[in-house]
């Protein structure tokens, strides 16, 4: 699991230097965030960030309009949600007039790519957002934590150095952060926001700089024979309960209520709950994101049935990178590759 780190021992050394002061940095980052938001808030319509929830292991998105609430803002490895979807999905901003002040938003590296994609697709103009970029060393997957230790009533969760420290009804669990990071984080190439107005904290070192590391899980699937892959996906997708959390959490699934998996006009899917329906639903989700997905992993994070749905999009992302040399969410002026063409590419 930690191979990526061990391999690059030189980088590792430099990184751990930073991590030694991680807790302090985290605290400082949080304070820095509070200070910057406080300064900026009068010029903002609203600030979207993370706040602690009733579960210390998970944060919840928060929408701040008054200075009183700024103290609730937090940042760090427990802030897993990608907030950018709120900028474009109703009704979060229905009450915000289009000519109003900009909206402040906290983004991690991966979130910032979603933002770029949204700007690129003109759902958003750059001047409508004030971007508080937060370099990220990976976010905690609470399900991985629960698989390591049985938790009853977590009172607090803190990150110190390379460790996640939990106080569970008097018992203290010390878990290596590396072991409980989200799957998508382990192949992350863009831990630092690619677009931002201000940057909070120190920049992070990418865990991957090559396709092989980023798409290691895709390769793991591809190593299996075809029948095995089919069996794997049938088994995984069979668990799908069609709650559409993956779709709704995706910042680029902009159709939302008009999504064709629910409409009758046109009618792509029936109400049947067979594996074909589930396959087609996930095909629709994936194909609609082909060349657009920024790999933020929200779809997989929110799945109550723990289906590795991001993996499906990862494969398409890999195809786009290998076939067309395109990675989404990096260049606000680029055209998504399936919305354009090149007459010359006879052998793509």
């Amino acid at each position: 699991m930690a191979v990526g780190w061990v391999k690059r021992s030189a980088a590792h050394h430099a990184v751990s230097e930073i991590e030694r002061v991680e807790k302090a940095v985290l605290e400082t980052s949080r304070m820095q965030l509070h200070k910057l938001v406080e300064e900026a808030l009068p010029e903002l319509e609203m600030m979207i960030g993370w706040a602690e929830s009733s579960d210390p292991l998970q944060t919840t998105p928060i929408f701040i309009r008054d200075a009183k609430s700024i103290s609730k803002l937090t940042c760090g490895p427990l802030c897993s949600q990608n907030l950018t979807g709120y900028l474009v999905k109703p009704p979060a901003l229905d009450s915000v007039p289009k000519d109003a002040k900009p909206i402040g938003i906290c983004v991690k590296g991966c979130d910032s790519r979603s933002l770029v994609a949204l700007i690129q697709e003109k759902f958003l103009t750059r001047d409508r957002v004030r971007i508080f970029g937060i370099p990220c060393r990976g976010t905690v997957d609470w399900r991985k934590v629960e698989k390591r230790v049985q938790l009853l009533n977590v009172k607090s969760a803190t990150v110190e150095d390379d460790w996640l420290i939990l106080d569970d009804s008097g018992t203290t669990h010390k878990i290596a952060l590396e072991e409980v990071l989200s799957r998508k984080c382990l192949g992350c190439r863009y831990p630092n926001p690619v677009i931002h107005d201000v940057l909070i904290g120190q920049s992070a070192t990418p865990r991957s700089t090559d396709l092989a590391t980023t798409y290691r899980d895709v390769d793991a699937i591809e190593k299996e024979p075809l029948e095995q892959r089919l069996a794997f996906w049938q088994s995984e997708l069979d668990r799908c309960i069609r709650c559409y959390a993956c779709r709704n959490a995706c910042p680029l699934c902009v159709c939302q209520d008009k999504c064709i998996v629910e409409t009758r006009e046109p009618r792509w899917l029936t109400q049947r709950a067979g594996i074909p329906e589930k396959f087609l639903f996930h095909f629709i989700h994936a194909m609609h994101l082909a060349g657009r997905c920024t790999g933020c992993g929200e779809c997989e994070r929110v799945c109550p049935m723990e289906i590795p749905v991001t993996l499906i999009k990862e494969k398409l992302n890999k195809i786009m990178e290998e076939m067309l040399g395109y990675a989404a969410g990096l260049d606000p002026d680029a055209v998504p590759p399936l919305l354009t063409f090149n007459p010359g590419e006879t052998e793509i």
Binding site: A220, W233, L338
Partner: protein, 166 residues
């Protein structure tokens, strides 16, 4: 009309016995490949009978989801054919289609669907012989693969070994 077909390339009769149950859907653009299929017919170029053609205005109309839907729901093969690049009736429809279908082609096997069940090709309205070749080859390929196993696994089988991810 005189039968112009070269006798040697008439595999239909021999394969007819094995065509039972195999169904191939062909999405053909109205301007080129549908015309090419017509030309092949006019020239009496014999072809296997498994193909069922859906006429579409342009391969640009092809949402890859039509292909995915067909294969997921058990059609044995999908053949998409349109105008040659640069000959598109709508100038660029097939350029869009090419990228989208290439992406799908690379994607299908990841989900466990045999990419050999899907083929796209360019055949003009005058290329009757080429059409015969395409249909014959693709039909034979699907026959070699046999019926689409589809998503036969029963819902609720939890014994499938998973693949280790990070």
């Amino acid at each position: 009309m005189k039968d112009l077909s070269p006798r040697s390339s008439a595999p239909a009769d021999e394969t007819a016995a094995t065509t039972q149950g195999i169904k191939i859907v062909g999405f053909l653009c109205n301007w080129c490949s549908y015309g090419g299929a017509d030309t092949a017919g006019v020239c009496r170029f014999k072809q296997p009978t498994d193909l069922r053609v859906v006429r579409i205005p342009c391969t640009g109309r092809m949402d890859p989801l039509f292909i995915a839907k067909s294969l997921i729901y058990g059609v044995d093969g999908v053949l998409v054919s349109g105008c040659h690049p640069r000959d598109c009736h709508y100038a660029v429809g097939n350029f869009y289609a090419r990228r989208r279908m290439e992406a799908l082609k690379a994607f299908l096997p990841f989900m466990g669907i045999d990419t050999q069940r899907f083929r796209y090709t360019w055949v003009s309205a005058s290329e009757g012989q080429q059409w015969q070749k395409v249909v014959t080859e693709f039909s034979e390929q699907i026959h070699r693969l046999g019926p689409n196993p589809g998503l036969k696994q029963r819902s609720g089988d939890h014994s499938i070994p998973s693949i280790a991810l990070r």
